[in-house]
Symmetry: C2
Subunit: 193 residues, 2 copies
């Protein structure tokens, strides 16, 4: 038979306060009266830049803090294979300034604010990301740059594939030339530019 044991107390270096918190944490809590407020995700808002959109995300506001959430089929436009988080960007600095041949990205500003330029070679838009409950989808072959980071900005970027140096287009003229070639191919095939 297995003895029923109490979980061990915390590491010796921890404070009595932490130990008491841990004990509290393991007990089922009394049912709370005030239910969390769930703000459903809105519909994606297409941008005039080819394929790019803003995605309102689900938010849960509760006395124990706020939560923003996205999952595949409900706000998250692809399965991320990579993420990166950008923070502590000095004022006036520009980041990004490239396009990807195949990579999809989803940008969520979790704290503070940042401006993102998206540009498909025909149209460009500046998008202000200032809330964790909206994500910006940047499709392949859209030039993007981020700037105007607030001091406290924390930008999370989810990416659809692992890092691949050859997927980056870092020269704007090269990017434009590729866009024009793709447009010409689509036109030749009878599509819109």
């Amino acid at each position: 038979m297995w003895r029923r044991i109490r979980p061990q107390t915390c590491d010796s270096g921890e404070s009595a306060l932490a130990a008491s918190r841990s004990t509290t944490a393991s007990k089922p809590r009394a049912r709370r009266v005030s239910a969390p407020k769930v703000i459903a995700p809105g519909r994606r808002v297409a941008l005039p830049v080819r394929g790019a959109f803003l995605q309102p995300l689900k938010r849960v506001v509760a006395p124990r803090g706020e939560l923003s959430v996205a999952e595949l089929g409900d706000g998250l436009p692809f399965v991320p294979k990579r993420y990166f988080v950008i923070a502590d960007v000095p004022s006036g600095k520009v980041r990004g300034e490239h396009a990807h041949k195949r990579l999809q990205q989803f940008l969520v500003c979790l704290r503070g604010h940042v401006s993102v330029l998206v540009d498909d070679g025909r149209r460009r838009r500046e998008v202000l990301l200032d809330s964790s409950d909206q994500g910006l989808y940047v499709p392949p072959m859209v030039w993007a740059a981020q700037y105007g980071y607030s001091r406290d900005a924390v930008l999370m970027v989810l990416a659809s594939a692992p890092y691949l140096a050859s997927d980056y287009l870092r020269d704007y003229d090269d990017f434009l030339a590729r866009v024009r070639r793709a447009e010409a191919r689509r036109a030749a095939a009878g599509g819109t530019p």
Copy 2:
């Protein structure tokens, strides 16, 4: 033939400053002299709690800001199908306080700090997450709770599957009973408890 056009300027509501920034953003920049400092990810550090570990993550420190990054096979222990971000948790509040039957989670504190209790029913540890360059892997059947959120804390949680209410174990005694049954099964099969 396709006319080569300049990308349109920004939306009318935007300032001249933003427009000039956008123009700047689209030009290839001069090569920078100071290379970013890349801090390679360390090896995962196993915790005494069954299956849980701390994962040091890759970090890039550059004049244009800091970046922490993880990808499948390089710091990220599974493909996330869901993420959520917790912020603005009042001091003294406890979050989590449940285990999952199957779900894997990866917790990264992107700003501020938070303590996480992990407990496999035999051993428990308190882990302080206070840097975006370390992730805490919480496997299935490990009870977890977060507390001691700093005012500015932003906790990102990546999850291996979409939300499923029936995957949650919210009662600690129920969790313990399941742990003991699993131990008994392993012992009966000749394994360690």
